[in-house]
């Protein structure tokens, strides 16, 4: 562990949120995003990862009007305001779905599986869904 002290002397932990599910078929993606915002509001060191179908959460051009659900893809663009700057997308997951980084709603760091293993191993807390 390498806890560092945040401002006001609070302990800052490294939280990684791993998104593996597509956005609207289940509630997981939206709930996970809300958890990310809450962790960020508490000044934790937050990173967000998109692997497997989780990469579909970031696809540009989502329009949910006719399915009666909230389109939460614009909220990913607010992560920067919350000082969540570490967004990782696994290259293999992106390519397997025929997507490129240009088709995503936010700038992300596209990383290899090996790099992602390393980054994940450095976390204090990992939450996957």
């Amino acid at each position: 562990m390498s806890d560092e002290m945040g401002y006001e002397g609070e302990v800052v932990k490294r939280f990684m949120y791993v998104n593996r599910k597509a956005p609207y078929g289940t509630i997981y993606a939206l709930e996970n995003l809300e958890t990310v915002l809450i962790a960020a509001a508490f000044d934790q060191d937050v990173s967000v990862v998109f692997v497997d179908d989780g990469v579909y959460q970031l696809k540009k051009g989502q329009d949910t009007k006719e399915i009666g659900m909230k389109n939460f893809s614009p909220t990913f663009r607010a992560l920067d305001d919350y000082d969540v700057e570490k967004l990782y997308v696994e290259k293999e997951s992106l390519e397997a779905r025929g997507l490129t980084a240009e088709e995503l709603v936010v700038p992300v760091e596209v990383v290899s599986t090996e790099d992602l293993r390393e980054i994940m191993a450095q976390q204090d807390v990992v939450l996957s869904c």
């Binding site: 562990m1 599986t113 390393e118 994940m120 976390q123 990992v126």
Partner: protein, 100 residues
């Protein structure tokens, strides 16, 4: 890190993603429907056997028993733990990642 997998490898890709992203030296505990992945002679057995050198694999005994699998052969090297062993694994590792 301790990774836990609780979904059947025949229904979900959870196990495969876990194996892909688990770093060398990590532990993987198969539990609930994830225990089906611990059996030898299945379509996914080789995926676990191939990682036996750099990961340690555990399976939760009570979930094996509940599914009528106590007599079924497991992949060589997979260690059976009880709930106490599960707790020990959590304590031994700095962080856990529950693949849901």
């Amino acid at each position: 890190m301790l990774h836990t997998v609780n979904k059947s490898p025949f229904e979900r890709n959870t196990l495969r993603s876990c194996l892909r992203l688990a770093q060398k030296g990590s532990a993987v505990l198969l539990m609930e429907d994830g225990v089906y992945a611990a059996l030898s002679g299945t379509a996914v057995s080789d995926e676990i056997a191939d990682r036996m050198d750099d990961l340690s694999f555990y399976v939760l005994g009570p979930d094996i028993a509940a599914r009528g699998l106590s007599e079924s052969p497991l992949i060589g090297g997979v260690q059976v733990v009880d709930y106490g062993g599960f707790v020990d694994l959590v304590v031994e590792h700095e962080a856990s990642n529950a693949w849901l």
